[in-house]
């Protein structure tokens, strides 16, 4: 059962991600963040619901669209924003940019911008966790585009074969860049694609924080008990274009109606309404929480902004 604290924590997480992304949109036009940004707005429920089940020692592996996964898992907000600005105290020391976030302490050993690339890496991490005899799990986040890559099936087969403690979390936002899912997939059934490798799958509403939480909980507990891997397909939608702060319904591959429909199902709005209804949150506590997080985000941007540029001599450091 979710406690009030759990629920508030999830709401805060989702809202923190949203606020971060909105802030990026606000400042991106200044061209001071000189790195591509792949925004998570609209998809916050997924990382939020999954991570509520995770502890620090669990490991997550993310993609080009990693801000939400990172924050939800407890990645350091200040260092992350500093990374966007290419600063010395960015989480990757300024050498990774927005697509390469890391927080070793928080169980985020790095993300990759090669689509599908993180899937076998997460699988290997799960193997390590198993070999070490822990009850910790690995999570591979990836998109519907990454589901096109054969390395997913190779990884699921291996995970099924070895009964690895891994959760494959596919965030199906229907698009890979501008390419609609059904232009790339013979059928609409990502969550079923693990069945033949003993990776049971579940489809979940990716805009419903608690639905994701419960689906992930089942999979994660299963993995902790040594019962093997699972695949979760969370259907959701990204509001912004593939990259950058703009909406792109003018480009022809998706309609404004489609976007507006999904905005009605904003995961944050839905959850806020639910928590209001349940009495977990009221207008006062909501405003307090917002204010706190807004400040936190502002501070992170200030921190980043004031941080030092990466010293030029770092260029040749860290190769080995």
């Amino acid at each position: 059962m979710l406690t009030k604290e759990n629920k508030l924590n999830m709401f805060s997480t989702a809202y923190r991600i949203r606020r971060l992304e909105e802030k990026i949109c606000e400042v991106y036009g200044k061209q001071e963040i000189k790195t591509p940004v792949h925004l998570y707005i609209g998809e916050e429920a997924i990382a939020t619901g999954v991570s509520q089940n995770l502890v620090k020692e669990d490991l997550i592996f993310s993609t080009h669209r990693s801000h939400g996964h990172y924050l939800a898992k407890g990645g350091n907000l200040k260092n992350m924003v500093a990374e966007f600005y290419g600063k010395e105290n960015g989480c990757a020391g300024g050498k990774g940019g927005s697509m390469h976030l890391i927080d070793v302490e928080a169980g985020i050993p790095g993300s990759t911008a090669i689509v599908g690339g993180g899937i076998p890496i997460a699988t290997g991490a799960a193997l390590a966790l198993q070999l070490k005899g822990t009850d910790k799990v690995a999570v591979a986040y990836f998109g519907d585009g990454a589901a096109d890559e054969g390395v997913l099936q190779e990884s699921m087969n291996f995970a099924g074969l070895k009964n690895l403690p891994i959760i494959f979390v596919c965030e199906n936002n229907f698009y890979a860049t501008n390419s609609f899912q059904m232009k790339r997939h013979a059928d609409d059934n990502i969550y079923k694609r693990g069945e033949c490798y003993k990776v049971p799958g579940e489809l979940v509403d990716g805009n419903d924080v608690e639905a994701v939480y419960h689906t992930a909980k089942k999979a994660i507990e299963r993995a902790r008990r040594g019962e093997g891997p699972s695949l979760i397909e969370a259907k959701t939608y990204r509001w912004k274009g593939h990259v950058g702060p703009d909406e792109d319904t003018n480009l022809g591959h998706r309609t404004n109606e489609e976007l507006e429909g999904w905005k009605q199902r904003c995961p944050i709005k839905l959850y806020r309404e639910k928590l209001f209804k349940e009495g977990v949150l009221d207008e006062g506590s909501y405003q307090n929480l917002k204010r706190e997080i807004d400040n936190e985000v502002e501070e992170a941007f200030e921190f980043a902004y004031k941080s030092n540029d990466v010293p030029m001599e770092n260029m040749y450091k860290h190769l080995f």
Binding site: Y28, Q31, K34, T35, P36, G86, K87, G90, A92, G94, K95, G96, G97, S98, M99, H100, T112, A113, I114, V115, G116, G117, G145, A146, D148, E149, G150, A176, T177, N178, S179, K183, R184, H185, H242, V243, G244, D246, D248, L251, G252, H253, D309, V310, M312, N314, M315, Y316, L319
Partner: protein, 348 residues
């Protein structure tokens, strides 16, 4: 992908007067030249088809495939799943069955998923079957740069392909060559890695409207000179041209060679120039160690040993993955200044 609408740093780099060698009475961009080549190939040869992630969307590979799917239909110009490995095999198989596929990757880095099909298959097929069948595949790929593209979206991996027998590697620097070499690749009918640079897309130049091809393995003396030879490809031709201008003001007459294709490589044009100048700077966009520049340097040291009056100099990226912080990124890439400095050292 277009990281941002705001990327414009490239304009100053390609603001050179380097152009194709034919006057055509018509200027178009590198992007338009690529588009026109594919358009004409599709129009004139029903065996040609074009496919890859995003060829039919609004971005349409930075504009280089714009409108083709509407004109030729989605059977011949189509978007694909993100299955680079299989889709490269698809190109090989379609070619073996008589088609002339053009496969497009938005970034050269993604080729790394496909080298089994390129090296173990496409490259060996014609030879290992004693010439009975050809593999007329063109793989277009674009080298990215800037705005924090980072270690996985900016690699210029031509050295990996340069080493492999059975492949062609083309690296056009001008709109004229972009069109002419694409035509050449289809005519030639052997597996060709067609490397474009993202920052050249806005470059304008003279391009004839009628189809033509540019002979592979023939470099071009872009600027004549007698003091030192500079050998370059792709974007580095433009950086080098800027360097040549500066050097001229200092009284150094550098000869600039655009290789156009590195495989086949025009050894003669390099050796002839070095025989005249006795000094050589080779520049490319790959990493320093084991890159194409080092291979060319080696070739000249072997075949032009007696001409060389100074050791060859290489101007390349350093041996590190591409960093993303803006200041590091700016320092990472070889520039006109680096080329000029290399020349100055040789000529001092």
């Amino acid at each position: 992908m277009p990281w941002t609408k705001i990327l414009a740093e490239n304009n100053k780099l390609i603001d050179t007067d380097i152009d194709g060698d034919k006057k055509a009475g018509r200027e178009i961009t590198y992007r338009e030249a690529l588009l026109e080549a594919q358009d004409q190939l599709l129009a004139n040869d029903s065996k040609v088809f074009v496919y890859g992630e995003g060829v039919d969307d609004a971005g349409s590979i930075f504009g280089s495939t714009k409108g083709l799917h509407e004109k030729y239909g989605i059977k011949r110009v189509f978007d694909t799943p993100l299955s680079e490995s299989a889709l490269t095999g698809v190109a090989v198989g379609a070619a073996l069955a008589g088609m002339r596929p053009i496969l497009v990757h938005m970034r050269m880095d993604f080729l790394l998923l496909t080298l089994d099909q390129i090296i173990n298959h496409a490259a060996i097929w014609h030879y290992s079957f004693s010439g009975q069948i050809k593999v007329p595949v063109i793989i277009r790929c674009i080298v990215g740069r800037g705005w924090g593209s980072g270690p996985q979206h900016s690699q210029s991996l031509e050295a990996l392909l340069y080493h492999v027998p059975g492949l062609r590697v083309y690296m056009p620097a001008t709109p004229y060559d972009a069109k002419g070499l694409m035509m050449e690749a289809v005519k030639d009918g052997h597996p060709t890695i067609f490397i474009e640079h993202r920052w050249l897309y806005d470059k304008k130049g003279q391009v004839p409207e009628a189809p033509y091809s540019v002979e592979k393995g023939k470099g071009r003396v872009v600027v004549e000179g007698s003091d030192v030879t500079i050998v370059a490809t792709s974007l580095m031709v433009h950086e080098s041209a800027t360097a040549v201008k500066k050097l001229a003001e200092e009284g150094i007459k550098a000869e600039l060679i655009d290789l156009r294709t590195i495989k086949p490589l025009d050894e003669d044009i390099i050796l002839k120039s070095v025989a005249k100048t006795g000094k050589l700077v080779v520049t490319d966009y790959g990493w320093h160690t084991g890159g194409v520049a080092s291979s060319i340097s080696c070739m000249v040291s072997e075949k032009g040993f007696s001409s060389l009056r100074k050791p060859v100099k290489r101007v390349t990226c350093p041996d590190i993955p591409t960093p993303t912080a803006h200041n590091l990124e700016a320092a990472y890439y070889p520039s006109a200044d680096d080329v000029a400095n290399a020349v100055r050292e040789l000529c001092s």
